[in-house]
């Protein structure tokens, strides 16, 4: 009887099938079905707006996904960042690479806030900036990089001055097993990575990442140094000694609403040229240790009211030996710590409005100073300290309201007040709107200010005949307004144009001093303005996975009426990714950089612009979806090009960068 009824039921349900179900199935496909579901997703009854969509945020944001990184064949973080509009990467004499943002760059990139999973990495209190450790960050464990150009102090506090770069790494659920990878390339470069992640039934989860990276560096020819040009004994002519080796260990442990995460890094490096305009040999050694430990908990008070709390402890130390003459060495070291906490309340007032408010406190300390000098790096003697032990307390309160008064209009208003024990308070507002004035066309406008707190070295450098600190320094301040249009004129195409204008005041820079040649002071201002154009087209159908993109930047940065030195007026990136099938794809990148001018008084010709061509091949999900293989060639045409050397090194020309270089990479998932 049951069988009969079931058959009857099937018959009723399928009664019309033979008549109607004739042609639809063959036209269906997963893509079409997902497109339909995506269209349905646009109508949401309740929406969480803590995480904003790139199209809706008021900030100028670029997101680089794990998939993008795989296609790029990136060897480190900077290989990823150099494709972002408005960002340029250049070599420095001491080895660390500079991140130029919107026409402004400094030796240690201290005006850029780099964060790891939302935690600021500016642990270097002596000099500020995070690039000493994070410029060659391995990318294998990165899930996403978010680059927000423009000031971010209203939310993130100090040092989110020109840009915020948030690196998000793979979590336990992203890993769900073991992933390993290895990469080998030119200059004896080798990278290894092992990650493990698991989610347990009792709501516990754990993710561990380990990276090892080692390279002999690009061995650029250095024809002369300040000694060789005087006929004194010298290592010049010679080659750069930028060997680099690092270990990274990252952990993310979670249980219920608690999370304990952090990262430890040990990095040892040589130097590209050296300090004091003297070419160094392999005895210059930079040794960095860095970690942070963060305990956080998310509290759900009500469905529309949550509170995020965290306690953190950051540590940074360096112990560096610098060769300042063939038989003269100095050794410097410090230990910096930052300990504090933050509480943030998130209140969803309605589907259209979210209020975020928080309080943070941190205590920063510098100590364990090392200052030695001598003719043999193994037997150095104590000398007067070059900086001072220092303690700073700071607290900040912030509030931000993200409100959609209309469904096509988002307004954001926020402000943050920070108070420092050593220089007082600073107030930074942020406001803007994103208005979809025509369907698929949005207009953005934002205004905000940001500050960078004086670093301990800028306040307290001492016993130095060349450069002294200044305890009376105030934070440098930037006020930026920007406006842009994001358009999706046809399916698959996203185009964006942004104009920005930044005014940096109370610039912290060395000026002529009384008891030394230079002393830090709040002096002068910089105006930086420019236009960023970018477009990306993602192919559909059989070419799904393929895309072409381009960005072009026109920038003009002026100090005292002069274009800033060593910064190009224009830069262009073209990229194309061609997916041959579900496994194989090829990636091509062309970077075109304009000439860079010199400092006032530097009589050298401009550094010529150049075009570089990179090519890569990627095979994904091979051998049962467990193996990814990539091979990339950088500077395929072996173009000889140079990054600008500062005016103080004008006798040696500029830094010759790498010729053609290869990098192969294999990744395994278990």
């Amino acid at each position: 009887m049951i069988k009969y009824l079931s058959t009857l039921l099937v018959g009723v349900l399928l009664l019309n099938s033979s008549v109607y179900a004739d042609e639809s199935a063959e036209h269906d496909s997963l893509e079409k079905e997902l497109a339909y579901l995506a269209a349905e997703r646009k109508v949401v009854v309740t929406a969480s707006k803590i995480e904003e969509h790139v199209d809706k945020t008021i900030a100028t944001t670029t997101v680089i996904t794990q998939d993008d990184i795989a296609h790029i064949g990136a060897r480190n973080l900077l290989d990823v960042l150099r494709l972002v509009p408005g960002i340029g990467i250049t070599q420095t004499q001491i080895g660390v690479r500079e991140i130029e943002v919107r026409g402004v760059k400094t030796l240690l990139s201290e005006k850029v806030q780099i964060m790891l999973n939302g935690h600021p990495l500016d642990h270097n209190l002596q000099n500020a900036g995070s690039t000493l450790l994070y410029d060659d960050l391995p990318v294998d464990t990165i899930k996403r990089v978010e680059v927000v150009r423009g000031p971010g102090s209203a939310l993130y506090g100090a040092n989110a001055f020109l840009a915020v770069i948030n690196i998000i790494t793979q979590s336990a659920k992203d890993l769900n097993g073991v992933q390993t990878s290895a990469g080998w390339g030119s200059f004896d470069t080798q990278q290894y990575r092992a990650s493990w992640g698991k989610q347990f039934k009792n709501s516990a989860e754990a993710a561990l990442h380990f990276n090892f990276t080692d390279t002999n560096g690009i061995n650029s020819p250095i024809p002369a140094d300040s000694r060789s040009v005087q006929g004194l004994s010298s290592n010049a002519p010679g080659k750069s000694q930028l060997t680099e080796g690092r270990y990274d260990l990252e952990w993310q442990l979670g249980y219920q609403d608690f999370k304990l995460d952090g990262r430890y890094i040990n990095k040892k490096a040589g130097t590209f040229f050296g300090t004091a305009a003297v070419l160094s040999d392999s005895r210059t050694q930079q040794d960095y240790n860095d970690y942070f430990l963060r305990l956080s908990r998310a509290w759900k008070i009500k469905d529309n009211f949550t509170v995020d709390t965290q306690l953190f402890h950051d540590f940074f130390s360096y112990d560096n030996i610098w060769q300042i003459a063939p038989a003269q060495f100095i050794r410097n070291g410090v230990q910096d710590t930052r300990t504090g906490g933050e509480i943030q309340a998130n209140y969803h007032i309605s589907d259209a409005q979210t209020l975020i408010s928080g309080f943070s406190y941190a205590k920063e300390q510098q100590g364990h100073l090392i200052d030695q000098a001598g003719s043999d790096p193994a037997h150095l003697t104590q000398v007067l300290p070059s900086t001072e032990a220092r303690t700073r307390n700071r607290w900040g309160v912030y509030i931000e309201d993200v409100w959609d008064p209309l469904k096509n209009l988002r307004m954001t208003v926020g402000a943050r007040y920070d108070r420092y024990s050593d220089f007082g308070g600073t107030f930074n507002p942020r406001m803007g709107f994103n208005w979809e004035f025509i369907k698929n066309y949005s207009l953005k406008f934002s205004y905000g200010s940001a500050y960078r707190a004086p670093a301990f070295g800028e306040l307290g450098s001492a016993n130095n005949l060349v450069l002294l600190g200044n305890p009376a320094l105030q934070p440098e301040v930037v006020k930026t307004f920007e406006s842009g249009i994001i358009a999706h004129p046809i399916k698959g195409l996203t185009a964006q144009t942004t104009y920005y204008h930044s005014s940096i005041n109370q610039l912290i820079s060395p000026v002529a001093g009384q008891s030394a040649v230079f002393q830090y002071a709040n002096n002068g201002s910089v105006i930086a303005e420019g236009v960023e154009l970018e477009a990306r087209y993602d192919f559909d159908g059989k070419l799904q996975g393929s895309y072409i993109s381009a960005n072009h930047v026109l920038q003009h940065s002026v100090q005292l009426g002069q274009q800033l030195a060593d910064v190009p007026r224009q830069r262009t990136n073209f990229t194309a990714n061609w997916a041959f099938d579900n496994t194989w794809s090829s990636f091509a990148h062309v970077l075109i950089k304009g000439n860079t001018s010199r400092n006032l008084g530097d009589v050298r010709n401009d550094v010529p612009g150049y075009a570089l061509f990179d090519l890569g091949l990627l095979g994904k999900n091979m051998f049962g979806k467990q193996v990814d293989i990539s091979f990339n060639v950088y500077n395929l045409l072996d173009k000889r090009y140079y990054d600008p050397a500062p005016a103080s090194l004008n006798f040696i020309g500029d830094y010759q960068m790498s010729g053609r270089a290869f990098f192969g990479h294999v990744s395994l998932k278990f």
Partner: protein, 311 residues
Amino acid sequence: MKPINFYNVFILLAVFFAGTGFAQSNKILIVNSEKTVFRYEKIATEFKKVLQQNAYSWTEFNLDDHANADADLKQLVQQENPALIYCIGTQAYSLARNVAPNKKLLFSAAINWRRLDVGVGTYGIANELSSAQEMSLLHYFFPTIKTIGLLYSDKFSREYVETIKKDALNSGINIINKSINDAQEISEVLNDLLPQIDMFWIISDPVVLSNKESVRQIFQAAQQQNKPVYAYSDVYIEQGAVLAISADIATIGRQSAGLAMMVDQGKVPAGTVQSPAGSTVTLNKCALDALKLQFNQDALDSVNKIVGCEQ
């Protein structure tokens, strides 16, 4: 006749004929959420075919053609005074409901219609098949299946899942449902869910099925744990679903047209929402054999399409 006079006459005639058209009481306004979406467009095409055969006139309004869709639709409704507004997709229905709350509305292709603000003059063709019938079928095809699991989002599918659970009880099947807010949670929730169930059911939830990666994660997890997957559409057969019962899209368009005409003629009780009339049953024999799943051989007669390993 001078050309200018000819044009004047032509325009007058055009206005006259257009005016008579506007005055027709049985004119239907079709509002399409996004004409580039295959499902919406297919439904619209089939709907218009039936209207044409029955000498109905219609006007079309595609939301993606209008920057200011609210105002434009409002103006069009005033201008056309349609007897009924046919809304394809949730976006179209939501807009029409706001703009013309007093008009008769007919919807289709709206995920989980029970979440919609449905008024007295609203009719519809559900997007999902009757879950009671699906339950009975699943029980008929797979007699040993006792527990079925599904992922859904509260935002889009809460009411639908509640209906499924009620219908499952009547069929003696236990449903274990897990809610997610973001596709990122899929792996985590599946790890917990799959060991507890005999079969996983993919429902048409836009959060769960956010992208290809979400689909891949679901099938990868199910495969790893040897769990069969039943899906609401045969597009998932290729991904590894063992069985799919799909509502036929073309039928929804024709069925909607039939319902629209009956509404126009006053032959349908207010608030009628019909289940889709046509469906296709697709069996993945390859996946079935691989899973060594017990299948009622008598049910093979009811299968429209059997997919083997070679396909």
